[in-house]
């Protein structure tokens, strides 16, 4: 979850009459988890579905509603203007077909505001922009740009001075040498042409979705902004723009429109949507009995507009709230506006009879039986390593089942057997007193259209007098006393077990497992100084067979 750093004193200025405590008490009820606090600073985690909470401006709007200081929707006042236009050339259609934008004027930009805008930009890129693939944003100093602009393509030899650079670089150099170029260059594919925004004087404004030009950099001296968003589809680009526009207006800018034409592009609307929710759905889902007017006022506290018409609540949703898919989302908005803390938990009597799964019941019986014969239960990961599973135990690894890109070397392969894990456990307990007797039940995996999951049961006994007779009597007794199943042992060979001390465990003439003395070389490799006996059987093929 993304994190945003806020300052209480800044929030207090943005919200109006409110104490620090009111703010910190209310943050969680907007869905913002306080991660850490340090005097005036507070870091909160916000949900990726609310990109407007990526700045303190957006959070202030939410808190105003929740605290009842300002309620109802945030209306975007965009002044119609014909001064600012972007012409889109059809050659961008195959690479990054859409552009949209807005002008924000007469704002005050201090260091903190720049910082907030930067983190917003990053979070938008990462979240709804899907790492700039779906949509990406560029914020520029308007006064450094001469309109009209053209959104077109250029070849990779095109040069300009990119942000944070002092000299001209070609597109190829930017992609090969800068961090952003290396991180996002792959979004442009192998095409010789790349998207570019040029101004009237053919100066480069932006090379989306990679980097802006240095000339348009926003500083504390900047007063007027130009924001452009490019993307793979028009709706996603406009969604992103609506968040930025809302935040900039809240930051004190006045908005002016940008006219966009060409290649299926058009000027952004940033319009409201209307959506209806039935008050009975609200009350049914929340378990409340709210009047229509209470529902309306709750929605207003969630910074939406609403009015009731009979049982229906007609809701007006600003463009930046594109996280609202349907009426159920409005139910949540009612709950938030009403206040989650005001919902009293109730327990309704169950009309159903609870039941433990029969597999769980049988496994519990097996646990109890094994404890009765003096075995301690172990638990190991299903996702383990080649070393534990195959190398140390001398097992065939050709059919191993691995996962991609594991961050942990010890967890790369799904186990097809439980016994190797228990041997590993013994090796880590050689300083503990003997006898050491352990068992484990768990899922094992093998490749089979696509994967077969079975439940296995393994046990291990290590002490100076451990012997085959002991371990055989354990498995026979456990299965017989626990489940009335009688198994036999038949001579077998297995690379984990010592020759002449190994048998397959047979049920009704079908082998279901293996038992014997662990090969002394394996025991030695594990630096265990006592003989070790072990077994493993498939429970899916025996006691769990239906």
């Amino acid at each position: 979850m993304p994190v945003v750093e806020l300052s209480y004193s800044r929030l207090q200025k943005l919200i109006g009459k409110v104490s620090k405590k009111q703010i910190s008490d209310s943050l969680p009820f907007l869905g913002l988890d306080i991660e850490s606090e340090d005097k005036d600073l507070v870091r909160v985690e916000y949900s990726p579905n609310r990109p407007d909470y990526s700045t303190d401006f957006g959070i202030a709007l939410g808190l105003q509603g929740l605290l009842g200081i300002k309620i109802g929707p945030i209306k975007l006042n965009v002044k119609k203007s014909s001064k600012y236009t972007i012409l889109v050339k059809s050659n961008v259609s195959r690479i990054r077909p859409f552009v949209t934008g807005i002008i924000a004027k007469n704002g005050k930009i201090d260091d903190k505001t720049i910082k907030q805008l930067m983190t917003m930009q990053e979070d938008l890129h990462f979240g709804i922009g899907r790492k700039r693939k779906k949509s990406s944003i560029g914020i520029h100093d308007l006064d450094k740009i001469s309109f009209p602009l053209v959104y077109t393509t250029t070849n990779r030899n095109h040069t300009f001075i990119p942000l944070n650079s002092e000299k001209e670089l070609s597109i190829s150099e930017i992609l090969d040498t800068t961090d952003v170029g290396k991180d996002y260059g792959s979004l442009l594919g192998q095409s010789s042409q790349v998207p570019i925004i040029l101004d009237e004087k053919q100066n480069t404004v932006s090379f989306p979705p990679i980097i802006n030009a240095a000339t348009t950099t926003v500083t504390t001296k900047t007063k007027n902004l130009f924001v452009e968003v490019t993307g793979l589809n028009k709706e996603d680009a406009e969604d992103m723009l609506s968040v930025v526009a809302t935040v900039l207006q809240s930051a004190g800018f006045t908005l002016e429109s940008v006219k966009i034409t060409g290649a299926k592009n058009s000027s952004p609307k940033l319009d409201y949507r209307k959506m209806t929710v039935n008050s009975s759905l609200v009350n049914q889902i929340l378990g409340l009995n709210l009047s229509s007017s209470k529902i309306v006022s709750s929605l207003k506290k969630s910074r939406l507009d609403a009015s009731s018409k009979g049982a229906n609540i007609i809701c007006t949703i600003p463009a930046y709230r594109f996280d609202i898919f349907g009426p159920m989302d409005l139910v949540e908005e009612v709950a938030l506006g009403y206040g989650i803390q005001n919902l009293e938990p109730t327990i309704s009597p169950s009309q159903t009879i609870g039941k433990t799964n029969s597999v769980s019941l049988k496994l519990k019986l097996l646990d109890q039986t094994m404890i009765g014969v003096g075995y301690l239960e172990a638990l190991n990961s299903s996702l383990t390593s080649k070393r534990v599973l195959y190398d140390m135990t001398n097992r065939d690894s050709t059919k191993h089942l691995s996962v991609l890109d594991s961050k942990s070397k010890e967890h790369t392969i799904l186990r097809d057997s439980i016994l190797p894990g228990l041997l590993e456990n013994l090796s880590r307990n050689i300083h503990e007193s003997y006898p050491q007797k352990m068992f484990e039940t768990g899922t094992v995996f093998t490749i089979k259209s696509p994967i077969s999951e079975k439940i296995n049961f393994s046990g291990i006994s290590a002490h100076k007098d451990a012997n085959f007779t002991e371990i055989k009597s354990i498995i026979q007794t456990a299965l017989n006393i626990g489940f009335g199943i009688k198994v036999e042992t038949k001579t077998a060979t297995n690379s984990t077990f010592e020759e002449g001390h190994c048998a397959s465990i047979v049920l009704d003439n079908v082998p279901i497992g293996i038992i014997g003395k662990i090969d002394s070389k394996i025991v030695e490799n594990y630096k265990i100084r006592v003989p070790v006996m072990g077994f493993e059987i498939s429970l899916s093929d025996s006691i769990l067979r239906t």
């Binding site: 929340l286 139910v331 803390q341 009879i353 990961s381 880590r428």
Partner: protein, 462 residues
Amino acid sequence: MLQVFHDIEKKIIISLRDNLKQTPESLEKSTHLSPDQIRRGIEWLKLKDLAIVFESKSSMISLGKNGIESFEKGLPERRLLNLLKDGPKKLSDLQKELGFVFGPSIGLARKNNWVESSSDEISIKNPPSDLPGEKTLNLIGNEKLSKDKLDSTDLSGLLRRPDFIVEDVIKTKEISLSNIAKSIKISDSVGDIDVEANVPEVFVARTHPLKDTIDEIREIFVTLGFSEILGNMTQSSFWNFDALFTPQDHPARELQDTFYLDKINAKKIGTPEQISKVSESHKKNWRYRWDINEARKMVLRTHTTCVTIKHLAETKPDEARIFSLGRVFRNEKVSYKHLVEFNQIEGVVVGKDASLKNLMGIQREFYKRIGITKIKFWPTFFPYTEPSLQTMVYNEKLGKWIELFGMGIFRPEVTKPLGITQPVLAWGGGIERIAMLKYDLDDVREFYNNNLGWLRSTKKCQ
């Protein structure tokens, strides 16, 4: 203080009270116990700080061949003096009488001026009543005596004479009672044992502490009317993500968060209707090209919700309470607070009367049963539920609120395409986190270390 002792201990203490310092041998005699019983009894008493054992080396003195002869017949010089008692005697007669000892006895007597000789006769001059060595010789007699009980000057003369004295160096133990033992009262009931003595530790065979927590949680939900369902840990992306309205380009689906199985894809992922309706819902709401091949990719389930939603899609119940419990996986760096594989419980309530307040009520009841009463609910976000909440519970030990189960109502975008018509309340969370609170652990990895020291000592009841 009255203390119960073993019979052996009792006899030893009583004997030592009569005779304060003894050897094991003397104790054997006085108590009529076997050497082994004495050895064990002394050992027990020593452990209880009741007996003091002083070990020392000492020389034991007994008579050799010539010594025994002298003890029986007198020292050679005594025999000489005895022959002279009745007046002087001729040397030749004396030689006859004394035999081998004639020479040494005459030599010694002359040197000490006990006799005087004139021409061929010898007569008594001035002998002492006790000759040197005589007392010691008689004291030893047929016994074996400690060297330090003998007069060392008297003994030294005898030691110089051949075959008179045999000296053995032996280790001896001297046992005495400690001050506590001197005053202790001894219970005299026959056959009593020391019930207060320390005993060796026995290691209990047991189920794993985490398994105990899992069983406890399972039990709670069964008694709340929930039935358990099971499902595979390996799942197609379709059930783990797509069916739960998680778009295919969502960050949670990336390799760095989710374990994908290398080169393994599911052929059959759902009914044609399920696939087409789920893909429609994605296209309409998330605006992207839904790819069935992406949905076929097999993953290690990231939650047990895939098991429940699949079950609901198959059974479409009007009313149900079900839960699923098992291992889930996240591609994380393993640390004291993160595992790649952990247990999750996840449950749903289906019914026309199911409401958010009911869902909160079930949570409150569950927490109450595991001993947590201070809880609150905060809004949160999950891709597949709306509204969504999380429970915060107050941990007294840590003195802070901790996030536990998440919950919500399945989105219509999830239920509708799968033909589920009733509202579905869903909740779930990790079990290790609860078990860590229960067993007061700081490091979640302990659950999977199988460290016998921990497993053997952790208390069952927490």
